[in-house]
Each structure stands twice: as structure tokens, then as C-alpha cells.
């Protein structure tokens, strides 16, 4: 029997196992080795023990760190996970950043995680105004934007934004988002029963009153003479023939030459 490609350490179910409570049967999955971890303090050691059992390149996925954040020694536990990494062993930690910590520690969880990790990926939905150039289905739960921050060994920090979409079968499509270009992703194919948005949205399509024009109405509209078009046309003629401009002689409207202060005897 070959080495299993996937090893699942179940540290979830044992936490609900209480004395004198009937135990729940554990499911069996083909080609997956299951290990029960009864204490979270033993988790780093159990992970380390499982690594040689797997293939050469190992990915440790801990789902999820949010379940461990209420633990008082979370920083110590996190550091012990980070120490498990090597050239052939990578660590992937999903973390729900939107859950506030009721008892905030001196160092926030976000700061701790971003400090210890080499790659920090923030996945978010497309709702921000800065995402105006991204045009993909915002109502789809399988697409979104990911901001990636990667720290290289040289010390350089690379930041980039990608647009992702999870297709059929869980296939992930990723496209790098460039500030100067508009990203248009594939539209999620609507299934039966879903409301399809029209490709060219006609605002007059589904109204209880009629806003459209018949052919005869369009012809009649085109024949209507606009009231001020003639004035515009006239002004163009006037410019061409300046002699036809009417000037009013201001000399007739004379200013009173009498000195209003003439009666003053100064």
C-alpha cells in the first residue's frame, strides 16, 4: 500500500465529545488517512509526525485559524505552525478577518498573521468604488478580487491584485488586474430558474405604459419644426452679412448735460 496523498487530522469532532455522550461515527474516505487529535496542544506535534508520512512536497492546510483565535495561547500556537515550514513544506492558513475578537489582545491577530507569513492574500467581494474597472458578475459567490502581498527572500515586497473565478469542478481561474486596463471576466452561465439579465438592457422593456414610437410617429416627429431653429439659422446668416445687424443710435438717449450741482453756490 502506497503512502496516502492526503492526511486529515480531525481536531474538530473531538472537541464536541463529552463524557457519557454517545460518540458519533467517523466517516471513511478512500485514499485519505484520518487521524483524531483530541487536544489542540498536541496539534503541532501531530502535524509534524504526519509530515514524513506524506509525499516529499507537503502542503499543510489548517481550516481554519478563526476557530483557534479564541484560544489564549494563539500566538504560541501560530508560531509553532510556522516552525513546521521548510523548503518542501508549505503552510496555508485560512482566516476570517471579519470576525471581531471580543477580548482584543495586545497584538491584533491580523498584525500577527501578516507579520509571520510570507504571502498574505486578502479575498474580498467586488463592491468597493476602487473596483470600477473590474466588470465581472458581482452577484456571483464564485468570483471576486484578491489582493496579494508577497515577501521575497531578498526583502522585496510585491503587491498585486488578481481577479479570480471558481469554475465548474472547482477549477480556479486567475487573471492579473492591471490599473490601466479594464478586466472583463466571464459571466457566470445562468442556470434554469435564475433571473437572466438582458445583454442590452432596455429600460422601456418591462413597463406598464408604452414609451416606444411607431414608424409613423417617428416620421411625424422628424417633421416637427423646432421653434428656435430658425433663429439659429438666422444668426448664421447675420454673421455672414454684418450690414444687416441693427444698431441703435445711443445718441438719442442722451445723458442729461445739466450739472446736478449747478445750484450749489460754492
Amino acid at each position: 500500500m502506497g503512502r496516502p496523498k492526503t492526511i486529515v487530522l480531525d481536531a474538530h469532532s473531538p472537541t464536541f465529545q463529552l463524557p457519557r455522550t454517545p460518540a458519533l461515527p467517523q466517516p471513511t474516505i478512500p485514499n485519505v488517512k484520518g487521524v483524531i487529535v483530541t487536544s489542540l496542544d498536541d496539534l503541532p506535534a501531530r502535524i509534524k509526525a504526519a509530515i514524513p508520512l506524506a509525499t516529499a512536497n507537503t502542503l499543510i492546510l489548517i481550516d481554519s485559524m478563526s476557530s483557534l483565535t479564541p484560544i489564549a495561547n494563539f500566538p504560541t500556537l501560530l508560531r509553532s505552525f510556522v516552525y513546521l515550514t521548510s523548503e518542501t513544506t508549505r503552510l496555508l492558513l485560512p482566516y476570517h478577518a471579519d470576525i471581531p475578537n471580543p477580548t482584543p489582545p495586545p497584538i491584533t491577530r491580523d498584525a500577527l498573521l501578516s507579520h509571520l507569513c510570507t504571502t498574505y492574500i486578502t479575498v474580498r467581494h467586488i463592491k468597493s468604488s476602487s473596483d470600477e474597472k473590474i466588470s465581472i458578475d458581482i452577484n456571483s459567490a464564485s468570483s471576486g478580487v484578491a489582493d496579494v502581498m508577497h515577501k521575497k527572500k531578498s526583502g522585496k515586497v510585491v503587491k498585486e491584485r488578481v481577479v479570480y473565478e471558481v469554475g465548474e469542478g472547482g477549477r480556479l481561474k486567475v487573471k492579473l488586474f492591471d490599473e490601466g486596463t479594464e478586466v472583463v471576466g466571464s459571466v457566470v452561465a445562468p442556470s434554469e430558474g435564475a433571473v437572466k439579465p438582458p445583454p442590452n438592457k432596455d429600460p422601456t422593456a418591462n413597463l406598464s405604459f408604452n414609451l416606444s414610437l411607431t414608424d409613423s410617429q417617428k416620421v411625424a416627429r422628424s417633421e416637427v419644426e423646432l421653434p428656435y431653429m430658425s433663429a439659429q439659422n438666422d444668426s448664421s446668416e447675420v454673421k455672414a452679412n454684418p450690414e444687416q445687424i441693427i444698431h441703435y443710435d445711443l445718441e438719442e438717449d442722451e445723458y442729461d448735460s445739466e450739472d446736478p450741482d449747478a445750484d450749489l453756490d460754492i
Binding site: 463529552l18 458519533l24 430558474g193
Partner: protein
């Protein structure tokens, strides 16, 4: 109970979404409401829906934290199902963990007591569900309903203990192939309440469906009571379910659902 709601959730008449083999999927449905829009009508919907399915194989365990048993009996009569008869037939079970005779500990004074309380509650629930399976077989479909889980928080139970309880019940229900329904308050005005926010968001991350009951954004109107947002939880794998917003109107005997802006009270 309400075919329009079942249709919007892509649920068949008799059961929730089924797998390709036809067996029902176990689901966690999170209901949230606010002070101006009470979501308890959904609790009655899920109770009635479960009891009106196959009577021989459907069971409901209601953890009534918000109301007394008489309240649910009276509402059930108006909606067309008799909880008294169901109780006698052992298809409906009521649990009142916040009974005045049982003191609820506060985690601020005694953290261990809070943990002990939720563990004791879980033991009661697990014993009830698993004993039924042992005596009546694996075909029994359970519906475990909490109305409402926020009251545990208000009573002094710590957030992590409440989350532990819901997680344990969820693991139990998955094993029994039933479904879990939890109602929690999520007032917009209490966003500064860190514990409430942490509870609701954590529950949201564990859920398959999130049904959010809110008052109308445009204000109060006579013809429409509020709006119901149907959202996909992170764990749902139903490609035929599409998030949408419905308007609802609560009448004396039923609740009417309509697409947003198309209710009879508006048109």
C-alpha cells in the same frame, strides 16, 4: 408551509436539497433579524414545514429561548398545524433551557460555569436525538431549531461557548442528516456590540443558507412588512440557488412573499 419561500430556496416540497443519489443533504440555516423586523415567522415556517412532511419520519426539537411553549402552540393553530397533537405523537419536542427554575451562570463571574451550562444543554439535545435514532431507526429526519440563540449571549454565556454549542449541534445534525435552524439578532444599531457581531459573523461562516429579515430601506409602509434577503452561505454547494431579495407581508393567517417591488401593497 410557504411554497414561494421553498421555491426561492430551491427546495423540493418534501425535503431540502437532495444529493444526486436522492438522499437529503444536511443543512445549517441561519436566520437573522432586527428590532424593527421580527424574524420569528420563519421559525414557525420551519416547524410547520417539517411536521407536514412525512409524519412517521419527521421530528422537530425546538429549543425555545425566546417564547414559551404556549406561544408556539397558539401560532401553530393559526397556521394550520397542531403542536399539541404532535407532542402527544412525539414528533414535536420542546426544550426550555432558560426556565426560571434553572439559574444561568454568567461567564464574567464564573467562566467554567458558562462552559458547563452549554455542555449540559448539548448533552440533553444529543441524548434526545440519538436515543430516538436508536429506538426508531436511521430514517428519522430531525429538525433542530434554536429560537433565539442571542438570548444565551444576553443571559451571560460567553461567545465562544455559544459557538461551541452551535458547532456541536451542527456536527450532530450532519451525522443525523437533519437540518439545523438558528435565529439570531443582528441589529444594525448594535454593530458596536463586539460579542453580538462576532457571534453572527462566526455563525455566518458555518452556515449553508443565510436568511436576513430587515425592515424596508425606504421606510414603513402599509402593504409590505419587510424584506427578506436569501443569501448563500460559504458551505452551500447548490449551483441552482441564486441569492435574491423578497418582500413579505404578514397577515393574520399567513405570510405572503413577492419579488422586490412587486407586492400587492406597492402596485
Amino acid at each position: 408551509m410557504y411554497p414561494a419561500l421553498d421555491s426561492a430556496l430551491n427546495w423540493s416540497i418534501n425535503q431540502l436539497q437532495t444529493s444526486s443519489s436522492g438522499s437529503p443533504h444536511s443543512r445549517f440555516i441561519l436566520l437573522t433579524d432586527e428590532l424593527s423586523a421580527d424574524g420569528s415567522f420563519l421559525i414557525h415556517h420551519f416547524i410547520g414545514r417539517q411536521l407536514k412532511k412525512d409524519v412517521t419520519q419527521s421530528r422537530v426539537l425546538l429549543v425555545g429561548l425566546a417564547q414559551s411553549q404556549d406561544h408556539y402552540l397558539n401560532v401553530g393553530k393559526k397556521l394550520g398545524y397542531n403542536l399539541t397533537t404532535s407532542s402527544r405523537a412525539s414528533t414535536f419536542h420542546f426544550l426550555d433551557p432558560l426556565s426560571p427554575t434553572i439559574p444561568v451562570p454568567s461567564h464574567t463571574t464564573d467562566p467554567k460555569a458558562s462552559q458547563t451550562f452549554v455542555q449540559s444543554l448539548y448533552k440533553t439535545i444529543a441524548t434526545k436525538l440519538l436515543d430516538t435514532r436508536a429506538t426508531e431507526g436511521y430514517a428519522i429526519s430531525w429538525s433542530l431549531i434554536f429560537d433565539d440563540i442571542s438570548l444565551l449571549l444576553y443571559s451571560g454565556i460567553a461567545v465562544q461557548d455559544v459557538l461551541w454549542l452551535v458547532g456541536a449541534c451542527r456536527a450532530l445534525i450532519i451525522n443525523l442528516r437533519g437540518h439545523l435552524v438558528v435565529l439570531s439578532h443582528a441589529d444594525v444599531t448594535t454593530t458596536e456590540d463586539v460579542e453580538q457581531t462576532a457571534l453572527n459573523r462566526s455563525l455566518g461562516h458555518m452556515s449553508d443558507y443565510m436568511l436576513e429579515v430587515r425592515s424596508l430601506e425606504s421606510g414603513v409602509t402599509h402593504g409590505v412588512t419587510g424584506q427578506l434577503s436569501l443569501m448563500k452561505g460559504p458551505l452551500l454547494d447548490d449551483p441552482n440557488f441564486h441569492p435574491q431579495v423578497l418582500h413579505y407581508t404578514i397577515t393574520d393567517s399567513c405570510v405572503q412573499f413577492s419579488a422586490k417591488g412587486y407586492s400587492g401593497g406597492v402596485l
